[in-house]
Subunit: 152 residues, 2 copies
Amino acid sequence: MREPHYFEDFADGQVFRSGPYRMERDAIIAFAREFDPQPQHLGEEEAARSQFGQLVASGWHTAAVSMRLFIQDALPPIARGGQGLGLENLVWVRPVKPGDELHVEVEVLSMRPSRSRPDQGILKARIITKNQAEEVVQSTVTSALVPRRAAG
Amino acid sequence: MREPHYFEDFADGQVFRSGPYRMERDAIIAFAREFDPQPQHLGEEEAARSQFGQLVASGWHTAAVSMRLFIQDALPPIARGGQGLGLENLVWVRPVKPGDELHVEVEVLSMRPSRSRPDQGILKARIITKNQAEEVVQSTVTSALVPRRAAG
């Protein structure tokens, strides 16, 4: 278990990499039923008649898994929890299929104190999600509030 | 059940609104355990010691629910499934708490043929997610490929 990290424990240019996460067929379908019920995500038969012609994961499933890998496996734990502010951009570059193994590569792009919240800093990072062939499937830039040590 | 819609069935400036979706405490915790295991999302006790001081939904949970409302309730069904290309921007404006009832308001910003895929068009829309007090909790602009009727 790594120690909780504060704003001061991160630096521009740091790079983190997560371990792999396997996208299981049943999990792809279960996520889609709940959050993205479109034919390409719901089962082989419906998917065959879809734009993709085969079962693929919802982009939102890939995004949620990328968050899990980012927060739980790539970054050390953030003291008192990071507060996501949003994404500058998110693109789904390639489809994700059952059995694909995803990992994320994170680069810290900048660290700056928050103007409105002196007890927090803003961490901005690029998160690239790749499959087992090292092909990029998703790319995004995210910002989050991270508590400062003095405030801990 | 509404008829499947093709690219030609949408137009700039159309506005769609979904019904409400209640964010249940147990679903907030279950989503967080799987995708965003940070103290503010995992239970009342951990959340009390977090930046938020109370249990709040993961922003990714709000995003996934917004997708569900967008695709299943606000827009008519897209023939053969829409293909999400990504988001220009996504911001989480206010925390979402257990018992909040969310809905989305969708405005079609533009419709244009795809240059690389003549059988598809690109629909760009702003999706605003609001709570029961009509306060904005999330805002994003998304683009998706939608099949053209001639190709159907």
